[in-house]
Each structure stands twice: as C-alpha cells, then as structure tokens.
C-alpha cells in the first residue's frame, strides 16, 4: 500500500478514474500543460490530451456553467477546478440557481452530475484572498453535496464516491494539507461514502467535531489531553452537506459535551448548524454549553506572518478548549 500525501492521492485517483471512465473531463485554469497551480493535474494533459484536459478562459462563472452544460448532455462527467476557493464566487449564481436547483425544478428530468474541486483554507501565506474557507455558503444550499476530505485515503474514496453521484458535488481540499498530510492509500476500488463522518479518536469525556486541517489539529490536541486523562471522541465530518447527524448525535449523547472546531469564521457557519442540531436533538444529554472554537469573525486570514499565526487554529488552542470543556 502506497504512502501518499493529499495532492498525490488526488492526482493518482484522477488519473485512475480517467483511465477507467472516458466520460471524465477536467477543465479549469492552468489544468493543462501546467498541471494546475497546485499540481493536482500534473501529467494528465500529457496522458489524456487536450480534449479531456481543457485549459479554460479565466472566468469561473463559465467554467462552472460549461461544466453544467456538459453534464446535462450525459455525454461527459466533468470535473472542473476552481483554482482557489476564494475565486468561486463569480460562479455562485450558476452553482446555486442552476447546478443545485436543476433536478428539483425539473423533477429529476435534468440532472447535473458535476464535480467542482476547490482548494480552500489558510496557513499558506495567502492573505485575505488565497486562504478563504467558503464552505458555509454552500452548506446552506439544498441540492448540493459539499465534501471536505482531509486525508489521502478519504480523498481517493470520496472522489470515487462523488463520481458515482448524479448530482453536483463541491469537493473542497484544504490546500495546507496537500503536502502536509500523508497516509496510506490502498490500490483497490474502495469508496468512502458521502454523508458519513469518521471517528478519528475515541473517548467518553467530550466530543470534538471538526473537518479539514483543523481536524488534524484536533486529533493532535486529543492526543495531548489524553495524556492528561481527558478522552475525547474526535469526529471528522468529511461531508459538510448532508451532515452525518447520527454520528454527531450518537457521540454527543455518549459524552454530553460538544466542541465544534473549524477554520471558517463562526457566524452562520457549519458550526452553527452542528450546534443547532445538538441543541435540538441531544438537548437532554448535554452536560455543558455547546462550545465552538474558530478563528475570530473576520473576513479571512491576514497575510502578515504573526497575524496569520494568531488567526490559525492549532493543537494548543484546541487542547485548551478541550480542557476547559472537560472541566465544566
């Protein structure tokens, strides 16, 4: 079994799936000869040619829209790359009003089997506009799947799952994890079901719910506090929409304490929804306030190194929040 980092897992899976399924087409800015600015598509243009790996005009609205138009024909299964999630917003109208609403408004007559990949997240000196976490906007939208795998194993398994769906999937990849996170990736054809969270650590004292880079920090934090006798369930949501309510509720009903951790700003975010679910459906089991830990409610990660450091979550901050909640 090969050890890969996230970007290798992604690239390898793209290649394997394209070899298998001639309907898969990749479009986006610089995905061709350049192989993508993060190298997700490196070598694919050379292997599959310019009819399957298509460099597009610099225009996200139409990158998504043409993806929709290709998907509607049923001839192709487009995977479009948004170079940075920060730049997905010109396409917001197309994603919301067209991709996500097509099936509903046509009673299933038209469907949009489209995957939109978008690197997101901070910690890479990207400043305000190359660091944004944008998942909250999309998690609100019925008709979309929104996923955020953060291990090489899940990237392969969830990309393969996404390819089997007949609906639009937003596939968010935390760019800081691209080279930071390594792990085993089996060669066989497994899938990681969309809509299912993973339990990364187990414990009875509290539940930490997270995803993305923050989830890796949460696991480290859990290991730190475990040494102090605080044992936590660490849930990796993996899928942002639909949320795995069962996984969340089962754990919180067991521990009675929930800490929700993510890099996105908190107001009306994924953590709001998780908290609302817990507050409504696990109320009787709660032993402590439903707690959230996120960066401050500011636009995005500042560029200046000390400010970026102060903004980002890390195992220390999470461990501290876990201690406080455990002590409640």
């Amino acid at each position: 079994m090969a050890i890969m980092n996230n970007i290798e897992a992604l690239r390898t899976t793209l290649r394997q799936e394209m070899e298998r399924d001639p309907r898969i087409i990749i479009t986006g800015e610089d995905v061709g000869p350049r192989g993508g600015v993060f190298r997700a598509t490196q070598g694919l243009y050379q292997q599959f040619g310019e009819k399957r790996i298509i460099d597009t005009p610099l225009a996200e609205l139409s990158i998504v829209a043409t993806g929709i138009g290709m998907a509607l024909t049923g001839y192709f299964k487009p995977i479009v790359e948004i170079q940075f999630a920060d730049f997905i917003f010109p396409a917001f109208n197309q994603i919301l009003n067209e991709a996500a609403r097509m099936r509903y408004r046509t009673r299933g007559d038209w469907t949009v089997p489209l995957i939109i990949r978008a690197p997101y997240g901070g910690g890479i000196s990207g400043g305000l506009y190359h660091s944004q976490s944008v998942e909250a906007f999309f998690a609100h939208i019925p008709g979309l799947y929104v996923v955020a795998p953060s291990t090489p194993y899940d990237i392969k398994g969830m990309l393969r799952a996404a390819l089997q769906l007949d609906d639009p999937v937003l596939f968010f990849e935390h760019k800081k994890t691209y080279r930071l996170i390594k792990g085993e990736v089996p060669e066989d054809d497994y899938v990681v079901p969309i809509g299912k969270a993973a339990l990364r650590r187990e414990g009875d004292d509290l539940t930490v719910i997270s995803y993305g880079l923050a989830m890796h920090d949460a696991v480290k934090a859990a290991d730190v506090v475990a040494a102090e006798g605080i044992r936590a369930d660490v849930i990796d949501l993996r899928t942002i929409r639909p949320l795995d309510k069962d996984a969340i509720l089962n754990s919180v009903k067991k521990t009675g304490k929930a800490l929700i951790v993510h890099e996105d700003n908190p107001t009306v975010s994924v953590s709001s929804e998780v908290a609302a679910i817990i507050g409504q459906e696990a109320f009787e089991y709660l032993d402590a306030p439903i707690t959230r830990l996120t960066p401050p409610d500011v636009p995005a990660v500042p560029f200046s190194p000390p400010l970026q450091d102060a903004f980002m979550l890390n195992p220390k901050k999470i461990a501290q929040a876990m201690r406080e909640l455990a002590a409640y």
Binding site: K51, T66, M70, N93, I194
Partner: protein, 347 residues
C-alpha cells in the same frame, strides 16, 4: 396558379434558403405562429379572469421563433429557450397543454410539474433545457452543451435564446467567449424587442446592434428583421449550417417588439407611448406573413379561418385539460432534491 407565381418571383431574386420551402412547409410555419399566438392570447385571458396568477408573453416574437425551430432537428439539437419562447417550444414539440398546465401550476406539465413559474419551459426528451428566472445564465451553459457535442463528435447544434437586455450580463460575455475560443456549434439568438422591461435599448448598451458584439468573440454576427419569418429562416439556416459543419458560432439578432406589457404584472404605459406600440402592431409578424402567403396564393381567406379555428380548438381542448388536471400532490415539495445514493459499503 399560385405555385407558378411564386416560382417566377423566386427566379428574380438571388437564391435564398427560404425559397426552397414548399407550400406545406410555409403553411406549417404559419400554423406554428398562429398556434403560439392563440395559446399566448388565451393565457392572457386566463390571467385577466383571475385563474392564472401570472403570464409572460411572446406575442410579436413568433416569427424568429418558429423560423429558428424550422431550421433545427427537434430532439437532436439542444435548445435553451427563454421565457418568451412559447411559439418556439411548441414548434419544437411541446404541447399547448404543457404550457397551460404550467400556467395554472397543475400536475403533468413536463417543464416542472408546478414547481416553477409559468413559461419556464423544460423538456428533457426534446432536449429543451430548463429555464430558470435569472436571465443570461443559460448562455454559458449552452456553450458547455455545444462543447460536449463537439468533443463527442456529433453534429448536434445548440441554440440559446435571450432578450437584448440580458446581454448586459456577464454570463452572456463568458458564454460567447467560449463559443469563439472553441469554435462551437452554437447559435445565440437575441430577440431584441428594444426594452428590458421599461429600460430602453440606449440605456442598456451604446451599440446600435447587439450582433455587433459578435466581433468581440470572433464569432459571426447577423442582424435580421425579427418580424419577417422568411428572413429569419434564411439567417437561421445559414447559422445552423455553419454550426453543423464545424464552422463555428453565430450571434443572431432578431429585431422585434413586444406589443404586450412585459408581463401580466407590468403596466407599459409608464414607459412607452401608445403611438410606438401601435406602429409595431402594424408590423405584426403574423400579419406580415399572411400578406406574403396571400400574395403567393398559398393562403386564402377560407384557409386562414380554417387555421384559426383549428388553433382555437387546440387551445380550447388544452385549456380544458389543464383546468381539469389536478394540482401536484403537496408531497412533491420535498421530492427530487437528490438522486438515489449508491448502496455504498465503506472499505
């Protein structure tokens, strides 16, 4: 004899694609226009009777619509209409009852089964794409469909319609740009009725012809009198041929006028003169075509009335069917959000 008259007239002109249309085909065009008009007029009546909360009309736009349809292969070519394309979708194979069920939010309408507002057409079997309300979005989507056809190696053509006002949207720009870059089998028909609701053309853009915008994308631009059905046919014929033969995309601008208010919610007296409207009513595309058909001896007063009666009967029957159709079950509201999930077992 009628046919002889036509032939001689023809030989005096240079060869036009519409010259090749048989009398039957010409009558078919005419009937399509009349049917579209009658369904549209009936929709207004049903709205004024309080039975339909909303109607948006294509009256005045029929010529370009039925002409375009006549140059396409329904169910083979891809068509992304806009909300005034009633006559167009009928000519492509949708039925009056489809529109009228939609008008009343009744079950059985293939467009959306009562989920969307009226005139938001869709028919997957006929390859008629689904209209949403935000204007312009369908242009780059249509470009994507045209790209798929091209990559797939078919000779399908994709046609997309919108109003001139909607060309101000970024979507239009981006879609046309793709059509140019990839030399797509793509035709964008702008039905230029000179207003975006109340906003006149000169406040929408600083060019005389929307088709002049084609040059910015390396695609062909053609202007046509949108009330002259045969001229529309000629222009569309050329555009479809270019597309079908891999010669690239065309932006067709059909100059026309909407003689009705923007929709049943509008009062157009606040922004344009009755004189202007009356002037255009005298250029009604059906009237203009009747004149040609009379001149050519293809249409007689008897036949005209027969066609009128036929169309009205079609509409009567469709109206009855629509009125007698049930509403969709309220359970529909929460259906069709996602397709079925595969039965995954995690490894």
């Amino acid at each position: 004899m009628a046919t002889a008259a036509r032939k001689s007239q023809k030989s005096q002109q240079s060869e036009r694609p519409s010259d090749k249309l048989t009398d039957d085909q010409l009558l078919q065009l005419y009937k399509s226009m009349v049917l579209g008009r009658k369904v549209d007029e009936r929709s207004w009546v049903m709205n004024r009777q309080g039975r339909a909360p909303f109607h948006i009309s294509g009256i005045g736009h029929e010529a370009i619509q039925v002409a375009a349809a006549a140059t396409l292969r329904p169910g083979y070519d891809w068509f992304y209409p806009y909300y005034r394309d009633l006559a167009f979708v009928l000519a492509m194979g949708m039925k009056p009852v489809d529109h009228l069920r939609g008008l009343l939010g009744k079950a059985g309408d293939p467009s959306s089964n009562g989920i969307q507002m009226p005139s938001h057409y869709s028919n997957a079997k006929l390859r008629i794409g689904s209209i949403s309300s935000p204007v312009g979005t369908q242009v780059p989507i249509a470009a994507g469909t045209a790209l798929a056809s091209k990559l797939k190696g078919t000779d399908e053509v994709t046609v997309v319609c919108l109003g001139e006002g909607s060309t101000s949207q970024g979507d239009f720009h981006e879609g046309l740009n793709w059509a140019g870059v990839h030399k797509l089998p793509f035709i964008c028909i702008v039905q230029n009725n000179q207003y975006a609701i109340s906003v006149p053309m000169e406040k929408e853009m600083a060019v005389k012809n929307v088709a002049d915008r084609a040059i910015a994308y390396g695609v062909k631009g053609l202007v046509v009198d949108g009330n002259d059905v045969l001229a529309c046919y000629d222009v569309m014929f050329e555009a479809v041929q270019r597309a079908r033969n891999g010669k690239g995309a065309t932006l067709v601008e059909a100059k026309t006028y909407r003689v009705t208010p923007h929709s049943s919610d509008d009062d157009d007296r606040t922004y344009r003169s009755r004189k202007e409207v009356e002037k255009w009513k005298k250029r009604d595309p059906i009237m203009l075509f009747e004149k040609v058909l009379f001149e050519r001896g293809i249409l007689t007063e008897d036949l005209r009335q027969e066609i009128d009666a036929w169309a009205i009967q079609e509409v009567d029957q469709a109206e009855e069917e629509a009125i007698n159709s049930p509403y969709p079950d309220v359970s529909e509201m929460t259906k069709h959000l996602y397709g079925p999930m595969p039965n995954w077992e995690e490894a």
